[in-house]
């Protein structure tokens, strides 16, 4: 059983109201025009959603990852693009700075990120370094007290919104005697000469979420922009990704729940052959299976989240949650679309958007195969 306290339940109810009243009505148009609805993002900032798991001294709300997951789940029910904007904004944008930043870096960046006035991206993936992040090619060399960055990044969320102020990039900052790359993370403010945010991708789903390739051609930032220790880039982002997976699992859970809610309502109201389609056992059983998937996804998600917050090991649980929840989302989206018939293929319908959007939950923040690798490793197989 998941035991949320009163404050958490109230937050959940509040975000649910916001999702229904503000996010949902804007979702279709945002998806159609492939634009992040900045007015919705602004209101999320005002509500403190981007500050949920951060302490008040950095402008945060003083909550934990559990509250963040609750908020992401509620948003993902109606609009995955908005949910991932929050998930990436917090998990990939602000969290690495909070976890690894110096006091000065935290003071400089966090208040604007936690209030939602600004967004940050995290650039790890490259054309030839996705699942194998160790294969990173982007380089950064120290020259006259500055890092000079060359290379490119792929698929970077929140990197080109009107309020994006920086991207944390991983780069090779040296090699040891055996030639093994030393990876570090560096803060690169938007507008740094030599740093270009390329035009947005033409994606299958998550249309309103902002995703760009980035190029660096001799981009220079102060030496003090190193995030965390030199050579610790890898260790730092592994921690970031472990945590991020839990939030990503919440997104999958919300999406799976959204598909179920829509399908239940439709199965009761849509009449075919003179009776509601839900009166057919096949449809009712499909709904029952969808419910079971959501239940599994939610239990796995909050088990990982409560472990994370309690300071217990959560790596395996995070990977399980990420895998189970992303599959629940994809499977429920497919079933929901089927239940909706032709309407399920029309973009105005939420289930159609979930159908296009859910696939990437099985890919981003580590593919299902990568989660299986992590779980297997925890079982002693590598």
């Amino acid at each position: 059983m998941i035991d949320f306290d009163d404050d958490q339940l109230e937050l959940q109810a509040m975000v649910r109201g916001f999702a229904n009243e503000v996010v949902d009505p804007a979702a279709y148009e945002a998806d159609r025009t492939k634009t992040l609805p900045m007015e919705v993002v602004r209101q999320m900032g005002e509500m403190g959603l981007f500050g949920l798991p951060f302490p008040e001294e950095y402008g945060g709300q003083g909550g934990t990852y559990v509250e963040l997951c609750l908020a992401i789940e509620e948003l993902a029910r109606v609009d995955q693009s908005i949910a991932v904007t929050l998930e990436a904004g917090v998990g990939l944008g602000a969290m690495p700075i909070f976890r690894s930043g110096t006091e000065e870096q935290k003071q400089q960046w966090l208040p604007r990120l936690t209030s939602g006035e600004a967004l940050a991206g995290f650039g790890l993936t490259e054309a030839e370094a996705g699942s194998d992040a160790g294969a990173t090619r982007t380089t950064a060399r120290l020259e006259g007290g500055e890092w000079v960055i060359d290379g490119s990044k792929q698929f970077i969320t929140n990197s080109g919104t009107p309020i994006t102020e920086l991207v944390t990039v991983t780069a090779v900052t040296g090699r040891d005697e055996s030639g093994k790359a030393e990876l570090s993370a560096i803060l690169v403010p938007t507008g740094t000469p030599g740093f270009t945010v390329e035009p947005a991708y033409d994606k299958v789903g998550w249309h309103a979420s902002d995703t760009h390739p980035l190029t660096f051609q001799g981009a220079r930032v102060p030496e003090a922009n190193l995030l965390g220790e030199r050579g610790r880039g890898f260790a730092n982002f592994i921690q970031t990704l472990d945590e991020g997976r839990v939030a990503f699992a919440a997104l999958g859970t919300g999406a799976a729940q959204g598909c179920l809610d829509e399908s239940i309502a439709y199965a009761k109201s849509r009449k075919v052959f003179g009776r509601p389609i839900g009166a057919n056992q096949h449809i009712a059983f499909t709904l029952a299976r969808m419910e079971a998937r959501v239940h599994q996804a939610r239990l796995a998600t909050y088990d990982a989240a409560f472990r994370l917050v309690a300071g217990k090991p959560f790596k395996k649980q995070a990977s399980i949650a990420k895998m189970v929840a992303s599959e629940a989302a994809m499977d429920n989206a497919r079933d929901a679309t089927q239940i909706f018939g032709g309407y399920g293929f029309m973009n105005e319908y939420r289930v159609a958007r979930h159908y296009r959007d859910s696939k990437v939950i099985e890919i981003g923040e580590g593919t299902t195969e990568v989660q299986l690798m992590i779980i297997a490793r925890e079982l002693g197989f590598s």
Partner: protein, 264 residues
Amino acid sequence: MRIIVLIKHVPDTWEERVLDPVTGRLDRSASERVVDEITERALEAALALKDRDKSIEVVALTMGPSESTGAIKKALSMGADSGIHLVDDALAGADAMTTAATLAAALRDAGADLIIAGNESTDGRGGVIPAMLAEHLGLPALTFVSELSIDGGRVRGERATETATSVVSAPLPAIVSITEGMPEPRFPSFKGIMGAKKKPVASHPLADLEPALAGSRSSASSVVLTCEQRPGRTGADPIVDEGDAGTKLAGWLIERRLAEQRLV
């Protein structure tokens, strides 16, 4: 400066409302209770003034059964500084006159520079409380405003009519009732939700305020004397369109004297 906002816990507007066949009153337990949207807007108006001038104190006042603490808590999470809850069994079923007298007693007791209320609640829909309060307290009332500001000891509002917009103003203290034209209420933040627990809420039984009112079931108006559930639809006689539905419909209306036949 202290602003007191009148808030009300009501059955959810989106659900169907039913009358209790025994008491003839609205069955307030039949649906989920929420803070009345119009009173949330009234609170938003007060909080917007507070955003501009941090020295403003915002107090949420409600009269209602013990569950109505939920309404106060919501107001505190949104940003009100404190709450006052008037709760007394004797107030169950209070009509507008009793309600106004009780609220006036509480407002006199608390003291306010500005009182903001919604123009009418979504459950009772009397729309008379703000004016009654103004009478009780001897305050100027700006009713039905859709824009609100305070400046130099005066409150100013705009009241839209069908033909023009009147600009109304009054010296403080005053009472204002607002319409749906005011901005939508903000959503509380998580910090607000957690902070709400630490904010003071005064809970007054009636006898504290106005002994004369206590226990007297002093509602002067009567409510519905009898009511019954609407019977299910029967005897429907569908008109099938065989190219002559218009004529059939007209015939149906004429038969029931709902329309007149004219020969042209």
